[in-house]
Amino acid sequence: QSRAQAPQLGTPMSKADVAKWDITVFPDGRGLPSGHGTAKEGRAIYVQKCASCHGDQGQGATAEDLVSGPMPPTAGHPNKAIGSYWPYATTIFDYLRRAMPPSAPGSLSSDELYALTAYLLAANKIISESDEMDALSLPKVEMPNRNGFVPIDAKK
């Protein structure tokens, strides 16, 4: 079945059209929006919108823990949370923008998202309380488990 057998019904999109759809964020920061936030700002939002499910310290409650305990991935019962397991900081921003909080996904502004991301990174002791996260700084954050993965069925 080749393209010549297809009816070619796709509607062409302009760059402006595409921009309304394209929310991909890459590890190198491509796709991150403007805006900024710090852990301090993030804490206030976290307490209000997140703590009820993830615990007041991110230790987990009905939903899972967001702050890694002392155990590295080699421990007997390793803690696969942000600090110990996640390879890229941009993933936090991307995931929160799509999915959190579950009752109102997509409701957080870019500033709020940067702030919450900063809060989770700081809670995991990866950045400091005052580090400001934005489209430039976030991709530069070196995650502890950055090199903890080996690809199996596809090469990067």
């Binding site: 079945q1 080749s2 393209r3 057998q5 297809a6 009816p7 070619q8 019904l9 796709g10 509607t11 062409p12 999109m13 760059k15 059209d17 595409v18 759809w21 394209d22 929310i23 991909t24 964020v25 890459f26 590890p27 796709g31 499910c53 009905t62 939903a63 590295p72 991935p73 080699t74 019962h77 390793p78 696969k80 942000i82 397991y85 996640w86 390879p87 890229y88 941009t90 993933t91 991307d94 995931y95 799509r98 999915a99 579950p102 009752s103 996904p105 997509g106 903890g148 993965f149 080996v150 690809p151 199996i152 069925d153 596809a154 990067k156």
Partner: protein, 397 residues
């Protein structure tokens, strides 16, 4: 009719009075014609078992009751579910599929338009990467085979070969990955190698003959033959053609398998060969010594099943089971094996081999290789113990 006379089963009892009841349904007009049928009320216990971490509602799973099913088709109403934030109630008129990024023409498709494209149909299993994860537990979980391994189902999927749409968009030379996104309240996203999608992925519109069910991606789902469930993105809305993965939460924090070395396997897409005996299986009881048909099914994300062996002595000896036709690539294959149960304790196992030569591993081998913190991709041989009363339980053996 001049063959030797085998002993009659012990269960053959003389006829009872109730065997001659004159049932009421012979004497009155039966139920009405129905526009859309449903199972018998006497089968109302054959349901998906809703479970998993459902806090909040919307994030969880429901298991296919494999022990109640036969053949290779899973009825769509019993296809397993894994949702991250519930089932979106999508109006197909409002839904769009966008293909953009490293293509010559960035394109948007309506469902109406997709339905006009060339299609093909294929029978394929879909298995959640987290299926059977109780197998990693220290102690064998005591649950029905469906509530243990039921995050796998098999359907006939029909849709547009994705290569046709990618060709229409005109993929750039440098492109190597595609990020697929769903229209759920999670905007679930995963990165997939372009080569696989060009090879055999389907933009799925029909499941078992009719349009997709809402919980399985209505109005359109990405079908990635043989690859873990999460890659078969439901409610597909966007395909971003690019040169690298975007390292989403579901390909980093989840659906990766941490090894004892501290390194985790990533981009583990293919579901390796696996088999399950569904009868006899945990929770069932054999009713006395007799001939039983050991029944189950096998599947492999790498191609066709070529052999399923069955053991009734905990793996000391194996015999080849009969495979029901058709045997199709990346699809359930039913196997069957006659077994005379003497009434002594026995341990039943099944072992699948696929056309690449891959053989389903014993549990200790899998655990030696992967450790016990991988969580995903558990495909070890399953053992059921039959005790002298015929009761069947899950064991590690």
């Amino acid at each position: 009719a001049a063959t030797a006379e085998p002993a009659r089963g012990d269960a053959a009892k003389p006829a009872q009075a109730e065997d001659f009841a004159d049932p009421a349904w012979l004497h009155r007009t039966g139920g009405a014609f129905t526009s859309y049928g449903t199972p018998s009320k006497y089968e109302k216990y054959v349901v998906r078992n809703i479970g998993g971490n459902r806090e909040p509602a919307g994030d969880g799973v429901s298991w296919t009751p494999l022990e109640d099913l036969e053949g290779i088709v899973t009825p769509s109403g019993l296809h397993f579910e894994r949702h991250h934030n519930g089932v979106p109630d999508i109006d197909p008129k409002q839904h769009r599929l966008v293909i953009h990024g490293r293509v010559r023409r960035e394109l948007m498709f309506t469902i109406e338009n997709l339905l006009r494209y060339p299609m093909r149909s294929q029978f394929l299993f879909i298995e959640c990467g987290g299926n059977s994860n109780a197998g990693w537990h220290e102690e064998p979980i005591q649950r029905s085979v469906g509530s243990f391994h039921g995050l796998v189902s098999c359907s006939e999927w029909t849709g547009v070969p994705l290569s046709i749409l990618l060709d229409e968009a005109g993929v750039d030379e440098g492109a190597s990955w595609v990020i697929a996104e769903g229209a759920d309240a999670n905007l679930l996203n995963v990165s997939l190698p372009l080569s696989k999608l060009m090879d055999d992925a389907i933009v799925g519109l029909y499941q078992n003959g009719e349009r997709l069910r809402p919980e399985n991606g209505y109005p359109v789902r990405l079908i990635v033959p043989g690859w873990e469930g999460i890659t078969n993105v439901k409610w597909l809305r966007r395909l971003h053609v690019t040169d690298q993965p975007s390292m989403t939460r579901n390909e980093t924090a989840k659906y990766t398998e941490l090894l004892p070395s501290g390194i985790a396997r990533m981009f583990t897409f293919v579901m390796d060969a696996k088999s399950l005996i569904t009868s006899p299986s945990h929770g069932q009881t054999l009713e006395g010594p007799n001939v039983y048909q050991i029944r189950g099914f096998a599947w492999s994300g790498r191609g066709k099943i070529v052999k399923v062996e069955v053991s009734a002595d905990a793996g000391k000896s194996w015999a080849d089971a009969l495979l029901d036709e058709p045997v199709m690539t990346r699809c359930f294959t039913r196997f069957r094996m006659p077994w005379h149960w003497s009434g002594q304790p026995a341990i039943l196992k099944s072992r699948a081999t696929d056309e690449t030569g891959y053989v389903q591993p014993e549990r200790d081998v899998l655990i030696k290789e992967r450790g016990r913190n991988g969580y995903f991709h558990y495909n070890a041989i399953v053992s059921w113990a039959v005790d002298e009363d015929g009761a069947v339980t899950h064991v590690y053996a």
